[in-house]
C-alpha cells in the first residue's frame, strides 16, 4: 500500500503479504519525505532551528518546537521565568488537543465515517484560532524562544480560551455519541490490534499508545520538565482488555487526554503568575530571559518531552561551525519512527480491512517520522 494511499496519513509504503484477506507479513518502507533536517540544522544557529522543528510534525508543531527549546536551554544553561513556563504549557496543551483532534478526524475515514472528520476539523479550527492569537501564524507558530516565549498572552485571551474550551468539552460528548454508542464502531475497533505494555516499552513505543494499555507512565511526571507539578492532573490511563490495548482503548485514551489537556489549560489560566490579563511587551524579562548565543565545544544538551504521539527527544552537541553559534550535531528522537514498525507488526494475523483501523489508531505522522 502506498506511497499515495488514503490509509497512510502521509507518505510511506507498507508492503503487505496477504493470504486471502488475512495479513501474513508486513514491512514498512519510510523516507518518502526525508528532508535531512538534522543536516540542515547544523548550518543554522540556535534561534533559526525552531522553525525547522515546527515543521517536523505538521499536526503538532508547538510540541516539537518546545521539545527543541528545552534541549537548547539545557545546552545553553538558561533559567526560564515561571510565567513563560505557564504560557508554554498553555500553548503545548492546546496543541495537544488540536493534534488529537486531527488524529480523530483522520481516524474517522479509516473506518468509514466521514462526518467525524469534518466535525473534528471544525473543533480544530477553534484551537487553531487560539494558537494563532499566541503565535501569529495558523499552523507553524515559531512561538517559543530560548529563555522564554515570543509573546505574552494577548488581551482577552483567557476569556476566549475558557469559552472555547467549555464549548469543546461539550462537543467531545457528540463524538462519543457517534463513536462509543455505535455498535458498528465497537465491532470494528474492539478486539483488534492488541498490544501489551511491556512489549511496547521494549519496542520503544511510548505515550498514549502505552497509556492505553493500563500504564500511567508519562514523561510529564517521570522526568518533570515544566510546571505540570503545579497543576492538578493525572495522566489519562485506559482500563484495557486483558489481552492488551486494542484500537478502542487507544481511541478512548486520546479522548480522555483531550479532556485532561483542556482542564490543564483552564487551571493554568487561573494560576498563571501575574494573572492572565496582564500583558508584557515582547522581550520583557518576565516572559523571556537573556540567553547566550554560543555553546562551546564539548557541551551537550538533551531533553525528553511528552509529545502528543509519544516521547520525543532532542540531543544537541555544541561547538559547531562559527565557533559555537551553531550546534555541531542535532539528533531528533521521533516517536512515530519507532512506533510504525511495531504497529506494522501488530497487524499480522488480522484482516486487510483492519490495517487502516490499527495503523490509524497508533496516530502516525510522517513528517516527524522521516525528518
Amino acid at each position: 500500500m502506498g506511497p499515495q494511499h488514503p490509509m497512510t496519513h502521509g507518505l510511506w509504503t507498507l508492503k503487505i503479504k496477504v493470504d486471502g484477506e488475512t495479513v501474513v507479513d508486513t514491512e514498512p518502507d519510510l523516507g518518502y519525505i526525508h528532508r535531512g533536517v538534522e543536516k540542515i540544522c547544523e548550518a543554522r544557529d540556535f534561534t533559526q532551528i525552531t522553525t525547522y522543528c515546527d515543521r517536523l510534525c505538521y499536526a503538532s508543531a508547538n510540541t516539537w518546537s518546545h521539545s527543541y527549546i528545552y534541549a537548547a536551554e539545557d545546552l545553553l544553561g538558561v533559567e526560564v521565568p515561571e510565567r513563560a513556563e505557564y504560557i508554554r504549557l498553555i500553548a503545548v496543551e492546546l496543541q495537544r488537543i488540536a493534534s488529537h483532534l486531527m488524529w480523530l478526524g483522520a481516524y474517522g475515514p479509516d473506518i468509514g465515517n466521514l462526518s467525524i472528520m469534518v466535525w473534528c476539523l471544525r473543533e480544530r479550527e477553534m484551537m487553531m484560532d487560539l494558537l494563532q492569537e499566541l503565535g501569529g501564524s495558523r499552523m507553524h507558530y515559531n512561538f517559543p524562544r530560548i529563555g522564554g516565549v515570543k509573546r505574552d498572552l494577548p488581551h482577552g485571551f483567557s476569556q476566549r480560551a475558557q469559552a472555547k474550551l467549555k464549548l469543546f468539552l461539550n462537543r467531545i460528548q457528540e463524538y462519543e455519541a457517534l463513536f462509543d454508542e455505535s455498535t458498528v464502531f465497537l465491532v470494528r475497533s474492539q478486539g483488534v490490534g492488541y498490544a501489551k505494555p511491556e512489549e511496547m516499552i521494549n519496542h520503544g513505543v511510548s505515550g498514549p499508545n502505552v497509556r492505553a494499555a493500563g500504564v500511567d507512565y508519562d514523561v510529564r511526571w517521570a522526568h518533570p520538565y515544566s510546571v505540570y507539578s503545579e497543576l492538578d492532573w493525572q495522566p489519562s490511563v485506559e482500563r484495557s482488555s486483558i489481552k492488551g490495548a486494542d484500537c478502542y482503548d487507544r481511541y478512548r485514551v486520546r479522548v480522555e487526554e483531550m479532556r485532561m489537556s483542556a482542564s490543564m489549560v483552564l487551571q493554568a489560566l487561573d494560576k498563571i503568575p501575574g494573572g492572565s490579563e496582564t500583558y508584557h511587551e515582547p522581550g520583557d524579562p518576565k516572559i523571556i530571559a537573556k540567553a547566550p548565543s554560543r555553546a562551546p565545544e564539548g557541551t551537550y544538551g538533551s531533553h525528553h518531552f511528552e509529545d502528543s504521539r509519544g516521547e520525543s527527544m532532542f540531543y544537541l552537541a555544541g561547538g559547531g561551525e562559527g565557533r559555537g553559534k551553531m550546534p555541531y550535531r542535532v539528533s531528533i528522537r521521533s516517536p512515530m519512527f519507532i512506533t510504525i514498525p511495531y504497529a506494522a507488526k501488530c497487524m499480522i494475523g488480522y484482516k486487510v480491512a483492519d490495517i487502516p483501523a490499527i495503523m490509524g489508531s497508533f496516530d502516525p505522522c510522517i513528517g516527524e517520522t522521516d525528518r
Binding site: 519510510l30 523516507g31 538534522e38 543536516k39 540542515i40 528545552y70 536551554e73 539545557d74 538558561v78 533559567e79 526560564v80 515561571e82 513556563e85 508554554r88 505494555p197 511491556e198 516499552i201 521494549n202 519496542h203 520503544g204 511510548s206 502505552v210 494499555a213 493500563g214 500504564v215 500511567d216 507512565y217 511526571w221 517521570a222 522526568h223 518533570p224 520538565y225 515544566s226 505540570y228 507539578s229 503545579e230 497543576l231 492538578d232 492532573w233 495522566p235 490511563v237 485506559e238 482500563r239 484495557s240 482488555s241 486483558i242 565545544e297 551537550y300 544538551g301 538533551s302 525528553h304 516521547e311 527527544m313 540531543y315 552537541a317 550535531r329 539528533s331 528522537r333 519507532i338 522521516d370
Partner: protein
C-alpha cells in the same frame, strides 16, 4: 499537588545506579544534574569503551531494569582532537509492567510517584562511546536486548555510517534504497547545497539555478 517524581529520590537513585555500573571495567559513570526550564532533573551520564559496551548493556537490562532504548545518536568528529566517531545512547528506566487482572478485569497501574524509591524511580541514562578512527566504525548491536534500538541503529547507519555488528536486516530506512554505498549524508565531509554564502546570495531567487539531479529524473 500534581503528580511529580521528587528530585531527591531521583538524585539518590541516580547516584546508586552510577555507583553500580561504574564497577564494570571500562565504564565510568557519574550523576549528572541537568536543568529543564525551571526544574532540575538528575540523570546518569556514563562513558564506555566499545568492548565493554555489550556487557554494560546486558547488565543494565538484567540488573537495573533499564527497559527502554530511547535514542541512538552517531556523531562524526573529523577535526576533534580526542575522538573521530562517537555513539551516544539514551536509555531509560520506565518501570512499566503489565497491569494485573483481577477475575478478568484489568487493574491499571497507578503508581504513587512520591512512594517510588530505589530501583523503581524512572531514570534516564546517557552513555557515550567514542570509537577509534577507522573507515568503518563498528559497535556492538543491542537490537536483541531492546527491540526499540532496531530502527535507531538502522537510522544511525543510514545517516552517519556507524555500523552495528550483530544487527540483522541492516538497510536504508530514510535515504532512497539506490543511494550509493558509502554515502552517509551526516558525515561532515558532505556539505549542503549552496552552503557557501556567496553562492547562496549571488542568485537569491535562483533563476539560473539547476536542480542537482536535473538529469536523473524525468
Amino acid at each position: 499537588m500534581g503528580k511529580k517524581i521528587s528530585a531527591a529520590a531521583q538524585q539518590k537513585a541516580a547516584e546508586e545506579l552510577a555507583k553500580a555500573i561504574s564497577s564494570i571495567d571500562g565504564v565510568s559513570a557519574e550523576l549528572d544534574s541537568r536543568s529543564s526550564g525551571t526544574q532540575v532533573r538528575h540523570t546518569v551520564s556514563a562513558t564506555s569503551t566499545p568492548d565493554s559496551w555489550r556487557v554494560l548493556a546486558e547488565t543494565l537490562a538484567a540488573d537495573h531494569g533499564v527497559d527502554y532504548c530511547s535514542m541512538i545518536t552517531g556523531i562524526h568528529w573529523p577535526e576533534a582532537a580526542d575522538k573521530t566517531w562517537e555513539v551516544v545512547y539514551h536509555l531509560m528506566r520506565t518501570g512499566v509492567t503489565d497491569p494485573a487482572a483481577i477475575e478478568g478485569v484489568v487493574q491499571p497501574n497507578i503508581t504513587d510517584s512520591d512512594a517510588l524509591t530505589g530501583a523503581d524511580v524512572p531514570m534516564e541514562i546517557q552513555i557515550s562511546i567514542s570509537l577509534p578512527d577507522t573507515r568503518e566504525p563498528m559497535v556492538a548491536s543491542v537490537q536483541d536486548i531492546w527491540v526499540g534500538a532496531d530502527w535507531n541503529e538502522k537510522e544511525t547507519w543510514d545517516l552517519v555510517g556507524i555500523d552495528f555488528e550483530g544487527h540483522e536486516g541492516m538497510r536504508r530506512v530514510l535515504n532512497p534504497h539506490e543511494t550509493p554505498v558509502g554515502y552517509h549524508p551526516l558525515q561532515k565531509q558532505h556539505k549542503l547545497r549552496y552552503h557557501g554564502f556567496e553562492e547562496m546570495y549571488d542568485d537569491a531567487q535562483g533563476f539560473m539555478r539547476k536542480p542537482a539531479d536535473a538529469g536523473k529524473i524525468k
